[in-house]
Symmetry: D3
Subunit: 241 residues, 6 copies
């Protein structure tokens, strides 16, 4: 049995609160167990230089943790004048994941920025940011559709993410911090609703792992992502077709 | 009548949720109308160089707004590699206010950092940070007292803050964003529970103001601070004597 | 009697040398006792983005101390790649004070930058910067008027500043460094020539202070500001009407 | 047939020149087709703070491209005062890969830094950095062993990396720049000599990909890594047992 | 006899490899003994603001050392967020030297950037950068001439540089690192092919030096520069007339 | 005749005011015509890491210009988060020049920092900084000698600097800004009192120059330096023997 009593394939309780902050064009608070991330989507009528006058749009993300999202306090990036390497890596990942399901050609010349601010971290913050960030993005795009900007929401499918790992020799889904830091292998699966993979990152933290182990982690992930996408639909409605 | 129907001397609804984030030694979410600030207190066993080996402690604060705490998105400081001038000013103010009621001589060689992260801003964020930050500080010190570190909590009194201003020719308490940005004079009063002033900042945004106007703003502030300190006591108990 | 023999209401000797540096459009050296600040005004035909094409102008200030303006050497900001928090706060204050008496609508689309460089610091440097900075600003605007740019100088009144504090239980005006660092309460009053307040900042460094103490400091400040404005007029002439 | 005439499973010509730079403790130039990376290993008798007095060592990597390693010039990071996000991500990956095969417990309290400087880039620079960086690391450790510091080289196995992707619907190994930028799916496999995976990163650049496609890319990668490890042994000898 | 057996007036073996990196418009590897510098020229169709719409062009240089170009590892500039003072000085020198022989009026509105990346340093890296950088520049300009952009190459003459010093009381040419660091006087001469001086920098590292010593160093330098220019012509052809 | 009526070999009026700022251990204002530089020496009981526990001391310099020392305003370095390349180069030069005449072995484990802040610039600011900086240094060392720290002042000789150039075909000493910017050749000579050279920097701004021109500039410089050293002795006394 797992640290918190879950079965190996069981997700922590997920709660997606929409309209969490009142100003952003899309806003959700996503809670996966004790991990809590505010995901805010901002729509701006400008694009990065390489897209100027192409008629295409852009989606980007920023990821940050409050200093006391964690057990010990992490100094703010501005203190060292350096964006934390881990944050830089994660926000690039979130941006890629969200762009992969968006129809950038039909977005119009606008940029949508998804701010993922972790207020409490208990493992899986990058996955929660993707799952929640998708909802914030979809809500912002729905708002534009409701204003008549789009006839059809420019999203091809849902996207969600889950961490899967091997802990004490067993494959487990949705690792909490204790499991993650004690695990042997650590994966992040980002998938759409058809069991196809959008991005995959896996590290043998403690030891190399076999192809067979990869296969079993894939099965767990596929099942978890299906559940997460169902939860997204409960929260924001069935707006992506 | 005011923008949101309040009387001139009336505070917005205030809600102080303690234990909001699970890891910090003290944590509250303070909501003053639509202004929402997470205040987290961190205790660390180190002091700044100038206090090394003096037996004295230190209290400091950091203030930040999420990019979409506001109507339009503000880029993060790390983007420009510069701490926002306004944030720098505010966090120095919060630190001074909290130190003014603390007994640093009896704090022990430790630093308490109060992180004030504004997740939604509708005016009065620096005042909410001080009022909420005091609660986070008091809870962290109570935790140390409960562990037997102190016999008596090293705080001399409560401290709270309120913005007061002159809008449309009338003095009003606890300005929301619309009132603040349209007002003629804008004050922040930081006071203790006896009507004494700890810090005072006032600007004639649109015009100079008279001594008489200052006097009437003081009266409003004094009354509001009394209410805020009562609300602090409701939230954290009567732990400062 | 005070540290340097002055009476409580007495200013230190003030000397304002106009045309101190030859290149700026307005330049003064202001000496308040041992505090010496070079104030240079630069006129540039550009405005910040938010004023573009509005026909309005802007006034801003920068404040800096030479490394050995003080008893011990302070490393330059560029060493740490961070603008000193105190400098950031002071230069925002100077800018607000000068803008408050300027008629920005009739300034034309230009920016006037007031550089306040403290070459020797003995308390009250921010107040000296405002009092001297006003002279540099007025001289630069007079230069533009003499060139026919303005019919009337775009200034509504003089502005000057003084530090007032409570030291050893007594209210005193124009604190020198020794008084300031040993004082209980420390105020900066920024006022126009009619006894109206433009900005007010006060801190109970050692203890909270009462409304009555605030009232007595106001009286001292009002009197000192009247003298400072008279000295400004002696130095730059009676050009603001 | 591929862009440069190779078969889908065929590596570009690989050349590993040892002792390329004379000062580092280990130095190789690795050339994979037109991709050229200088990998230098530096041994220093200090460890990061979290390893102080633990007796354990550390391995870290830095990755950089010369401005004209690419078709168009990329400004140096110092120009923007920011470490490029892509470089930050890659150097974290290289560090993890090399640490995964090292016996840090028996390294002694020293840090080995692997500098990977890309002088010419034609796709697969991060993989070349790992494959070449391993050689530089092994040579530096062999040097220490030759000096009598170790009885046995503190490496558990070889590590090498290859990019594999789906281009025009076909899985291909060791993508050059043209293939990489036009491909649908892009993977980096980091493996040891037994077909076990150390790290895996895959992105559906143009579309999601299926589990079956992942399986076929794994097969290609496994085969390529075997060849790369054989080439490593040719270059540095059979020093890891 | 010198450290490496050379005569006082003797250069180390010089090797200039053209077309070293395949992407830049001009590229050479210059080797002066153990000093090795990659010099890449990039042509871009933009000029600095002060040259906009003047029809004139610009030449600039950047200089950097790989961390292990030297005996001990030097952290990268980005680590400290500061361009190394020595590098800043050297790249300004290289830029001035190359501009001094170029006909900027006839360059067209384009900027040519010469990147000098030292991969191995054994003294004289700034001189090698100038001598090699000239070749990269000339090759890039020849490329433009071959495309029909110029009728005549916009260069007035060759430029080369050599370090000359006084070591153990004797004037010597082309100091290697050991000689340089143990020397009494250290000069860099930058000259054209007619014995005229373009720039001169000399420092009495250990003691002041006399005019007579300066004269004897000039003679050595003149002779060495003649040889270096002959070697440049061997490498890139006789394209400057 | 020259721009300001001087003869070719004639210095501008030089004024050295000692004790200009009251806090530094040594302080002078040096005025060379319209060029004005405040030179402050600070003594601190610490040395850079490479001198720790060697018993030796260090001398370093910092150079900066006030934003309006020049005809147009130059933004402060902190604005761009970069130390100006020109300043970096100049302060390294000042430091080398002053160290060259100091007896660092007998300085004791202390660092003397010479801050050169240009308040008005009309050409020759680096030379004025060296000539004035030497006086500030000597005064600080004399102060230490008077306190009994030294028996003999740890300086081997005076050092002064002058700019010499070729303008309109004629060699001239002590160029003012107009001459400097219109000149063909620009030299800085740093010399001791015996006509020996400490450092030499010369650039053919507009054209290469001949050895004969270098010789004639040396003669002018030697003569000017003699005068400057006499002026130093008038100002600070004959304390270096």
């Amino acid at each position: 049995m797992r640290y918190d009593g879950r079965k190996n394939e069981e997700l922590r309780p997920v709660k997606i609160t929409t309209g969490y902050i009142k100003y952003p064009e899309g806003s959700v608070l996503i809670e996966c167990g004790n991990t809590k991330v505010i995901c805010n989507a901002t729509v701006e009528d400008r694009v990065p230089p390489f897209l100027k006058d192409t008629g295409r749009g852009w989606i980007t993300a920023e990821y940050n943790m409050l200093p006391r999202a964690t057990q010990t306090r992490t100094p703010r990036d501005i203190q060292k004048l350096k964006l934390n390497g881990r944050s830089a890596e994660i926000q690039r990942l979130i941006g890629r994941a969200l762009r992969s399901v968006a129809d950038l050609d039909n977005l119009g010349e606008r940029t949508i920025t998804i701010d993922c601010d972790v207020i409490q971290a208990d493992g899986g913050t990058r996955c929660a940011s993707i799952t929640g960030g998708f909802c914030a993005l979809a809500l912002a795009l729905k708002g534009l559709m409701d204003q008549g900007v789009y006839k059809k929401i420019p999203l091809r499918s849902h996207v969600a993410a889950v961490s899967v790992g091997i802990v004490g020799g067993e494959a487990m889904s949705d690792l909490c911090y204790v499991e993650d830091s004690g695990g042997e292998v650590d994966f992040n699966f980002i998938m759409d609703g058809s069991g196809n993979i959008i991005e995959l990152q896996g590290t043998g933290e403690e030891r190399p792992f076999s192809k067979k182990e990869l296969d079993s982690m894939y099965e767990l992930a596929k099942n978890s992502i299906d559940q997460l996408i169902a939860l997204q639909k409960d929260a924001i409605g069935d707006i992506v077709r």
